[in-house]
Amino acid sequence: MSMDERLKNFLYFSPLLIFFAVVLFWPLFNVFYTSSKEFGLANALALFKPDKYAWKSLIFTIRVAFVSTLLSAFFGYSIALILVMRKSYENVIIQVLRVPLFVPYIVIGFIWRALLAPKGYVTMILNILLTKLGFEPINFMGKGISINIAHIWLYIPMIFIISYAALVKINPEIIEAARSLGASGWVIIKKIYLPLTWRALITGTSIVFLAAFVGVSIPLILGSEPTYFPVYIYYILNQEFDIAKASAMSMVFVAISMFLGYIYFTLSIRLRRGGYQ
């Protein structure tokens, strides 16, 4: 390839480069610049001392996102496994599970707030059952669990779709061979399905954790104590108008999410090249 051709290819790529430079890299640079120049690195680090609210918020957020991811991974992968092994009503189930992916996050937040509010359907029905059984009624609002419940409605489908795409690519003859040798369902899962699809599962869990960790809309509507980390940044910006502090907190946030993003991309490139296995 000639130099000329290379230049031309680079030019073809330039619209995206220019666009990213203005609305992505410049703002990100600003976050780093403002937090180090105006806020100071020492002050930024001081925000994350264990007794500070920012630290509590960050730890709470990581914990909630982790629980959401774990639950979604378990249910999403299990549904995918059942579907691959049973092969009944696959199309219906796939279509149904794709629906949440096209519901705006803010709407998901609203729906679950309506359901989990003290007079919401889920809380009311659960509390009627609980009081009948002699337990204390429960309250979801303001707790991490309400965010978990809303999260998994969106993320179970995500994990399901990624794992299912990998599971259906497994050559059915391998499974047949294992069956004819007397392997039970569990053994097949442990020895064939899991080893051949763990990369897809990790890719799915990393993208879900990332999304749960950075998403503002759902925790913003549901609310929690301590405040969800991205929501906390949003409040600092929108209510305290403290752009320097918001930048300092965003920097930590960007660093963590880019690291997770890096893991996701490395794995997903390998997945694409290796045909999802």
Binding site: S88, P104, F110, I111, R113, V214, L237, M258, L260
Partner: protein, 267 residues
Amino acid sequence: MKRGDKVGIILASLLAFYIFFPLGVMILESLATQWYRIQKWWAPEKVGIKWYVQVFQTPEIFKAIWMTFVIAITVAVFVILLNLLPAYVIGTGKIKFGRDFFETFGSIPQTVPAVALGVGMLPVYSRLGWLYTFHGIVLAHSVGAVPYVFRNLTNGFASIDPELEEAAKVFGAKGLTIIRKVYLPLLKPYLAAAGVLAFAWSINEFVLTMLLGYPTIATIAVKVYQNAGGYYWAPHLAGALSTLLVVPSLILIFLLEKYTGISLQRV
């Protein structure tokens, strides 16, 4: 097939209930004009389209609905134009050196938290005079839409036989003519998918609109937030607005998939 039937039915119905019950509640909230007080707390006493009428008759909300779709369509067109050439060089394998890098490049916005991006964009936008402007919001929404469009268009270009391009070159076609005459007609389903995903992304976008556009520019998402606890708890209005946001996009996606035979991937 036979053996799995029962499990299949149970699983399918459980999942359908799990997914559609919350959406049903959303629609119910939007249609119930009055609820029973104590007994039968779960049922609406009266239903009607009162809240939808109210939504369309409140000028401020009506403007937000209109704005949402204008912005989303502009975003879809803009992001497709923006990614056409880059997707062409990547999808057809013209860039060999650092291919992984460039492929990943288009997906970078996915790893950047929207709220952190908003924090960085505020000073940039205020310097450029883009705060509270239409184009400012279109550009802000476009950032997050790039990964979906880039991936779909790259796949589209990759799916086309490179010999077609060679043949066109033999007949003297060049650069943009090749893209226009050879690739675009074959790309149609991918363009449709990319467009719908960009559209869906834009109507989903909330934080950046709130930080960079509000109060001059508000979208349905902003109005849902305000009515769903952000400013006050008005589930009937939030429900009506959510339904207006969700139902048309689900129908659009369903029709698109039915008529083009493609399957939209958001993950």
